[in-house]
Symmetry: D2
Subunit: 344 residues, 4 copies
């Protein structure tokens, strides 16, 4: 098969690094360009010593610019940039007919107003919102991704939350007003940025909630829950920062409708995710260490007979299924390839 | 002041070790005996190298027995034993007129039936239940502890949960049926026991819920919430094991009654805990690292205007306020001393 | 290509788990049997939730016995067992004409006396020692491994130490009497065993030397250094336990001979390891996190002009190049395949 | 006793924070001023939530200036500043007759030339070097500290290295040319600074040597070893960064002179450190977790009969005996108080 040329913008962050590693061994992809403002001029192996010895080790990071990306011949550009910045690249790249797989928050929301409410700034390219796909394959389905020009890849928290909840809301098995979510995230989720609060000596032996009660990811979580439920859904969501490098778990408490029990939940999941290779229903309570460096999401459910509530559990790798490998999965589908290509 | 002779049974576990360190520097206490089945014959410094150089370094652990404890002249015995085992010592010690400060679960529940339901065995000394005090000072109050013969010290999860919730239930500020609790615990909470699931290589880079939906601590949590609310309270409670040695945080989502808001919660806390040196209301979200090796509990509250729910946050050291230092605090009060004696 | 049937004995330990994962995706291997005393009857996915979804997920662990291994049709058996136990399987398996790849210490030493000196017991199968190959491919060379019936795979410490030192001793660039080695090991190196000293709460925030001055691995280190130097070599070796799950680094201080400098070292390494895909000479000081979950060994050298000594640095994954992936590498060579097969 | 007024400059770093905590509970000290450029205007509790509830919680950090320090009435100023900056404060403060306890490197070296060689800049106040005391109490002795005006507190690496080595060199028990040192440091040793290489996600699961072969601390290590040996001493010293927040161990390999053995080493240590409360000779190999948050240094020795070398081991808390608590110890002695005052 002719290989697809791909470029990665913002390749020196944690998600960018994962993308480089994944695409470098993807059987249908050839990396055409890697950009990084801070590492321009360095080789991949210099900035990522882990990749010394790989075929791509000698490739140099270049300064990011639309011109150089177009010149690279890439037919797809992955954007691993902070929100706001991604749109600056996405707009001209789309105009140039290049597919964009965006890992930022810029094109996840259908409403520019909601973006402004949660991100505190005007949306930088609202005209692109209508054409973007919220690229959570198990939720949006393969048809929505096929040949999509702009893939808005979900955040890590939304991925860990939507996969367990969406089938239950679609089947009206749970009360949309009853949802209470607690999530735990590894520190890499905050990015490779020089910030005192992310130092080892600040995070080690530290457990802390943050971003409550209105974390930015709430906007996309509720948008998608609304779509699934067919009615407005407002949830309680509390993220926590805990001392692991990679890993995320979510614990979700909900009230069932119509006597939905463990079996009903498992049936709904089984039906919704039949044939989906990356969703695993497990009998134990999910542990993040079982999914690190993979694209899996592990799901489990328990019934609390005392309260009448259901407990839903999920585990992902925040940089894997929560970011880079999920982006590759969605990209695979957009190209008509098996979704697991390059991810096994 | 004449010093009180104290003995510690089960001194070689994590809570026991904390008790040894605290009582060794307590101005009104003299350690009369330390027992440990596994370390009998060893000195304190041999088993706890951290304590080399302390005055108590050369004291030897002895085999635990009621006779040797009585013979030691101790007027108080701290029991840092697994549940079930503690009662075997408590009964004869109480008969001998010795005060017992028990860190196990054996005397926390008022009902032997509830004990059997949650612990899966008959209560070993039900006749002592009526006379025991659930020794959470900020909740039971000093009068209940004064001259108490049997102090049943709370577990770490209950401490982190009851302190924020009890004043709100007493004042009917929150709906007792709305309570959803997520707690994160450090690994020392599981004790110093040879268990593969507690190995470094199993816990590091691992995040996992466990014990849901019916963790044993639920029994004492709900007993005390019932007492506060004046009505049956059933809560959702999910504990999680996370890779810190010490530390515990709880995140509690509740629905307010009568429009109770952040201010109402803070007022209720302020009133309930006025003059209590170990309760700190903080403006940031509590971080376990701010309370490790202390007897503090940090509390915060947020209002989620979108859901109408309140978010309560607490942080403690599971071995401190969640175990050993709280036991000393309660013991201080039982003796009529300042509750912070030896804990500053 | 016809697939080779392989069995793994002791599959439920950390090295065993790595072997299962590696061989399950090895293009020329079919797993014929997995044995585990403690997990017999369980499926791979039940004991290793990480492997749920893999083709091998449903295979059941069986009780270990020579009969069942022979019956499995395996033409190679990997032994991931404690020393002493491995020999009990190796002897009958070799008699049955089955290739044995042993990850234990049982066949690493050429001398049964040295084994007894370091392991404190008689060697269980001394007649096999003469035919075993010390399977460190970069040191023993491919010819020694070709069609070998008994591969004695090196320990993690020896791997991290021999790869940097052997070429320098062979070329007489360093004084064999000057070697001082300090190594740091992750906790998984101690195995998946219920031992209080390996608990998270004992290893986290802990740094400690151990096993000095006569760690068991010294025996194989010195055997191989002797072979390289052509004279007796006695080294100072201090292992340390540090709180990482996986990873090992060694820092080696040596006195150069004949004015050997950084360039001479790099030339010797370059020459010795030309064409070896898993040895990486790096310009920075090696960091274990760059090699975790790989078969790479990173090497660097510095000259200390003040003391006239050379500093050698290496980093490996103790479970990868230090155990499982190196075993697969050696096995590949023994079968005449590319050494990186299944390891890329 | 009349309390001594003390100020702390650079109070918001890790060593500064320790100093604040120690001096706040020191029985003979009253904190007169705390300075911090970045936190000026904030209260202690706002910047250090751990200290909420302490008597000092409401004190505000002020901008650092000689004038404000003099105005505070402090008779001693602790400087917890980066090298170079400390001298800017020390010179005018000394002129104003105020005692200076400096935790930086500025006054540790007797030679301004050596300072320039190792720190790459002219010494900022060479005229003060002659009057400063290298304030390692167990090495310099109490007389040198008595009434000292400028205490140059040692770095963490030097402390962990000099305490075991100095008595042996003084007694000519070891060959000064044979010393090979490997040290492991927790991440807090690098300070509370926004640096990508110190992020949790960079340090966790990472083991790395750094700063070899000429770390800055070598200069003071060798100055003091020279003084002890009475001859030039050049050592091999390799520091390593490992994922603990606090803790440091050093492993030192030396060749004995005149048949010095374990007993000779222990005798030399015993004699040199008799009556010194913070030096503990232990029979096990020192573990950093036994000394965290203390001023202890644990020492052990082993003989390697095979190489004829001796192995020396030490463990300290890099922020305790390696920085803040040692500064308080030296300050205590300078004032004629028991050295353990406020440190027990």
């Amino acid at each position: 098969m002719h290989k697809v040329k791909a470029a990665i913008v913002g390749a020196s962050g944690y998600s960018g690094e994962e993308l480089v590693a994944l695409l470098a061994r993807h059987p249908h992809v050839e990396i055409a360009a890697l950009t990084s403002r801070q590492s321009a001029g360095k080789t991949v192996a210099e900035f990522f010593p882990r990749m010394a010895g790989a075929a791509i080790a000698g490739m140099k990071f270049i300064e990011p610019s639309t011109e150089s990306l177009v010149a690279s011949g890439a037919s797809v550009v992955f954007l691993a940039l902070p929100h706001g910045l991604a749109a600056e690249f996405a707009a001209p790249l789309r105009k140039a007919g290049i597919q964009v797989v965006d890992l930022s928050a810029d094109f996840r929301l259908k409403s520019a107003d909601v973006f402004e409410e949660f991100y505190g700034e005007k949306h930088p390219a609202p005209e692109l919102l209508v054409g973007s796909v919220y690229a959570l394959p198990e939720v949006c389905g393969n048809d929505a991704l096929k040949d999509a020009g702009l893939l808005a890849c979900p955040g890590c928290y939304p991925t860990s939350i939507l996969v367990p909840l969406v089938p239950l809301l679609r089947k009206k098995l749970i009360d949309p007003n009853s949802i209470v979510i607690n999530s735990l995230s590894g520190v890499s989720g905050a990015g490779r940025k020089a910030d005192v609060s992310l130092l080892f000596a600040e995070c080690n032996e530290s457990l802390r909630a943050y971003g409550a009660p209105k974390h930015r990811h709430l906007s996309e979580i509720e948008q998608e829950l609304f779509a699934a439920a067919g009615e407005k859904v407002v949830v309680s969501f509390t993220p926590h920062l805990v001392p692991v490098t990679r890993g995320m778990i979510s614990t979700i408490v909900v009230s069932p409708l119509k006597g939905a029990d463990v079996h009903a939940v498992q049936s709904a999941w089984g039906e919704a995710y039949q044939g989906r290779p990356f969703v695993r229903m497990v009998s134990h309570l999910p542990d993040s260490k079982h999914v690190t460096s993979t694209n899996f999401i592990d799901l489990a459910v328990r019934e609390d007979k005392r309260t009448g509530r259901l407990l839903l559990f999920s585990a992902i790798d925040n940089l894997g299924k929560g970011a880079a490998s999920q982006a590759v999965q969605a990209f695979n589908i957009s190209r008509g390839w098996d979704e697991a290509t390059g991810l096994a």
